[in-house]
């Protein structure tokens, strides 16, 4: 039995296989419509998330399976003080696979250690968010045709943004990747990413604070929201949130074949005027998220997809 806790739990080869499967799902949706008949996915969301939870639920429903779960800690036994490990032991009796989001870092790993069903980390605090990474990789691979030889700009909250940490961890395994890390000094990537991932793997990177200067360099621009819930004080949040706003003027500085990705939801960091730019890929990214999660559920449940008919 396997879990997905970190984006590094799958090898590059396994990721390729999973993304090939996601590609086949995209082209042949009917073929997979009953692949998970009779299976149940539990979505354990200890903090609010519309997008990720609905994406998981949409993925399981598209495979013919069913879903159950909760969408806030207040509506779970956590409000009575139940541990994550106990909740996962209980859920293992109710479902065949589960996705867990929790505000504390490492919660999904604790859950996986206790569970007897596959556990998917749907975000653990500011730490990892591997299914967003799968989504990001699938989007880039589908729209760019490759995952190597690219300059990737990551912009916004790089300190607490778990999607950024997971994406860096995943992309450093492909050849020819360079990073431009665009953030205010206070929101730069944590040292376990800088030292433990970038420097350890000799990945070329630069840390800059000016989005305009970085624009012409980029094949991919990955925008992130400055999340209010990650700050201890509101003053600090208000000071930071408007630092990096992508608008048409900034887009004019970028390459013609650049892609703009965003894990969503956005607040104001991408102006709506950018939405119609053909380089804006963030809504297509949402659709790829469903395909990636469908492929992941099939893989972790070890469903024999070769036996499915068209």
């Amino acid at each position: 039995m396997r879990h997905l806790i970190s984006p590094l739990d799958f090898t590059v080869q396994e990721l390729d296989t999973l993304m090939d499967l996601a590609g086949d799902i995209e082209r042949n949706k009917e073929k997979y419509a009953h692949a998970c008949d009779g299976k149940k996915l539990a979505t354990l969301f200890y903090e609010p998330s519309t997008r990720t939870r609905l994406s998981f639920e949409s993925a399981m429903l598209s495979l013919g399976g069913n879903v159950l779960g909760f969408s806030s800690a207040a509506s779970s036994s956590a409000s009575k003080g139940e541990s994550v490990a106990d909740t996962l032991r209980m859920i293992s009796c109710y479902a065949d696979i589960c996705a867990i989001r929790h505000p504390k870092e490492g919660a999904a790993l604790v859950g996986a250690q206790a569970a007897s069903i596959p556990v998917i980390n749907a975000g653990d605090g500011g730490h990892q968010h591997p299914t967003q990474t799968l989504t990001d990789l699938l989007t880039i691979r589908s729209l760019k045709g490759r995952l190597s030889d690219m300059t990737v700009g990551l912009c916004g909250d790089l300190k607490f943004g778990r999607t950024v940490h997971s994406l860096i961890n995943a992309l450093v395994r492909y050849p020819g990747i360079r990073f431009v890390l665009i953030s205010p000094a206070e929101l730069r990537v944590p040292d376990y990413i800088r030292e433990g991932v970038l420097e350890k793997n000799n990945i070329p990177y630069q840390e800059v604070s000016n989005l305009d200067e970085a624009m012409p360099l980029l094949d991919i621009l990955y925008m992130t929201r400055v999340q209010q819930e990650r700050f201890f004080s509101e003053d600090e949040y208000l000071r930071m949130k408007d630092c990096y706003i992508l608008d048409a003027a900034k887009m004019a500085l970028g390459r013609e074949d650049m892609l703009v990705l965003h894990p969503l939801p956005r607040v104001n960091e991408i102006s709506v005027e950018v939405d119609n730019d053909p380089r804006a890929a963030y809504f297509r990214q949402v659709q790829y998220g469903v395909y990636a999660r469908m492929a992941l559920i099939l893989t972790l449940l070890e469903i024999d997809t070769a036996g499915l008919s068209q």
Binding site: S83, V84, A85, H102, P103, K104, E105, G106, A107, L109, V110, D124, G125, G126, H127, D191, Y192, E195, G196, K200
Partner: protein, 143 residues
Amino acid sequence: MLNISGLKEGIVLDHIKAGKSMEIYKYLGLDKVNTEVAIIKNARSNKMGRKDIIKIEGGLDEIDLDVLGFVDHNITVNIIRDSKIIEKKTLSLPQRITNVLHCKNPRCITSIEQGLPHIFFLSDEESQTYRCLYCEEKYGQKS
């Protein structure tokens, strides 16, 4: 010079970096054992200049070599029987240490989950860096 009698049966932790013996005393839980324990601080050493030594009479059921390796992997562990050294154990940096360090990251699951062991893993041997297994927070100050 201070004179401390030899051990007939027991364990001698030698070549402890001067000043580190109380830390090791605490990590090994020697405050909770009833046997005789001698702590020698700042003993003269040809090799180290000054060193600490801990002598434990009768020994312990099990010495946690990982803890010792983490605190100071240059320590020599001498097992004594019939007043003779019958075994010398050398230490290395452990890959994993459990319930020795405590994660201080308030966002880590270890801050709320009951009964969860605090586990740190060796993330970089060269810089001797340990990180929390759950949140990957770098080990900072010993707790």
